[in-house]
Amino acid sequence: MREILVEPLARVEGDGGITVRIDGDKIKEVSFNVLEGTRLVETLVVGKTPEEDVSIACRICAICTLSHRYAALRGLEKALGITKLPPKAQLMRTLMHMGEFVESNSLHVFVLALPDFLGFPSAIAMAGKYGNEVLKALALKKYGNKIMRLTSGRMIHGENPTIGGFGRYLDRTTLLELKKEAQEQIEFAELGVQLVGGIDIPSYFEKETVFMCCEPGDGEFGVMGDQIRISDGKTVPVEEYRSLTNELFSPHSAAKHCLYQGKPYTVGAIARLNNLGDRLKGRSLKLYEKYWNKRWLKNPVFNNLAQAIELVWCLETIPVLVDAILEIDEDPALVKPSRMDGEGVGAVEAPRGTLYHNYRLKDGLVAEANLIIPTGQSLEDIDKYLRIAVEELLKQKADDQKIRMQCEIIARAYDPCISCSTHMVRIERV
């Protein structure tokens, strides 16, 4: 029996691994394993106030802390009867969300994924040959962090975005600085797309799948919405998320897996570009038109390139947001809840895909919580593509090293977020 274990899978966030077991020329097992300890977050927030919930829930993940915060805020605000935020608060939320996309996508594309393709163990090791690119990529990531830090109050788990708005708003000078920096960074982001777009992506494991993402509902490209857009043409209200994400238990993973109509599906940048990419404008549209092709519908490794194109979109969007915020002088007060009992589903796109936070409140306290996390939704597809790849590689008589490397590239392309996925758990209604 041949056994290939990748454990831990390096350069991903959290404790994950890949197991491949081969008997002769037969595959016994191929699986992506979530090895992280469980935290049972959904059971921790029961009995807490909405503010406390937001503060606990964002700690599920440090990379997408603001997406968790955003989804939690939306779910809770709906439950509290807060249906609309003042324009300035809404714009600030979008700005903070953009910061996270810049941070997370640049971290993944340039620091975590690219070393595989250029043959280095880390971005730091890459710095010798690609010094300039590494420094610029780090500067771009730093810019994303800066937006997160300024809008949320600190680099990670900042409490400033709160129920009903923000504790404090940004001043004019800071906003103008953010705008200027977006305009300066965009050139490198475009170069980054070319760098990633120039990489050969193997095609031997290609196969069609289903893609899902938030539907912004305004005809524009976007990363949040109250409906879900599916690549089979359907659009479904987020309240019906359970019918899209049927969860199942898998003994090799501390995270629950999801299926759509009994089939695996993929979420994340590649899903967003496949479903909504033709709505991009300006420079990001040009890049999308240049690089998108039908192989994207079958090959998850294009996710890296999709993330790179989204970076350009973010940098085009930020100056527009800043201008809109600057037009509103007065900082709005926090919107007060209109009820203390209710239920709400908040869905946003985290950089790795659709994130759902569903809460039921009773007497102002959380009575029940259900969170569905992006990586959990893609897990069945990760397993599927790994299996196809191993089957094909066995036919080609590939050695263990090659199998290992290809599996790592596929799993890492999904940008799996393992801290998040251990919260892919469901609580039965009591």
């Binding site: 979530v34 300890g37 469980t38 606990i56 409490e159 404090r168 090799h252």
Partner: protein, 257 residues
């Protein structure tokens, strides 16, 4: 004479990876950081990790399954010094929160009777309850400047000095208007300083994510909480939210109850 570079490892256990990311996010210092010491293992950032003897092991996250307990014991055996970073490692984190029902019941609620074949989950423990910890750096997440300061001191073989005052002290240095005076429940008086009073500076109350302040160093601030009439239970619940199960006891001590 050039000093020998120290061998360092960074490990993430159960948590959100926020503390390791604070380090990765410090772009300006990152290349220096990789240069100042010999970073032998840091699986979040690189794949050519070498698991042998270390001078300093930095541990993030709590210990939440049997395999993690074995792993951290193994790291302890081959490390001269072991440093817990972040409130998960230091206190157990949100996952060690004092809640009902028991961990076993909650686990069952979530996973049913299913068995995981890859890991043996256990209730989450602070690193210090599994192995000896030489130095603790709390925070959720840790503060970057504080980490690089501690790192520098340890590289030089010195013991870092940590703030022994509560968040209130930092809040007053910033000349914020006290939230308690506005009727907002803030646990700054019983929480260790180090965050630069970030939440009160955004008009939002401190939620205690840095863990409790040292005993005997916040008496006058704590008097403020008592004066406002907040119950021991309310304070314990708040403090026990971000840091672990042991917090309610330490808050009791702080408040002299």
């Amino acid at each position: 004479m050039e000093r020998k570079k120290l061998d360092i490892g960074l490990y993430g256990f159960t948590g959100c990876n926020g503390d390791q990311l604070v380090i990765v996010h410090s772009e300006d210092k990152l290349l220096d950081f990789f240069g100042a010491a010999n970073i032998k293992s840091f699986s979040l950032a690189k794949s050519d990790n070498d698991e042998s003897a270390l001078d300093i092991a930095f541990i993030e996250g709590s210990i939440a399954n049997r395999e993690q307990a074995e792993h951290v014991k193994h790291i302890r055996e081959r490390s001269r010094m072991l440093v817990a970073i972040g409130s998960c490692a230091v206190y157990g984190g949100i996952q060690s929160m004092h809640v009902k029902p028991s961990w076993e019941e909650r686990f069952k609620k979530v996973y049913g009777n299913n068995k995981l074949d890859v890991r043996t989950p256990t209730p989450s423990l602070p690193v210090g309850e599994v192995v000896k910890v030489d130095f603790s750096l709390p925070g959720c997440p840790i503060d970057a400047d504080q980490f690089f300061y501690v790192f520098g001191q340890l590289l030089r073989g010195q013991t870092p000095a940590m703030p022994d005052y509560p968040v209130c002290a930092e809040c007053r240095w910033k000349e914020n208007e006290c939230l308690l005076l506005k009727g907002i429940f803030c646990v700054g008086p019983v929480t260790a300083g180090g965050c630069q009073a970030v939440c009160p500076s955004h008009n939002l109350p401190c939620l205690g994510c840095w863990g409790p302040v040292k005993e005997g160093n916040a008496d006058s601030h704590i008097a403020l909480l008592k004066e406002k009439g907040y119950s021991l239970e309310a304070i314990q619940n708040r403090m026990g939210m971000h840091a672990g199960a042991g917090i309610p006891e330490s808050v009791k001590k702080l408040l002299g109850a």
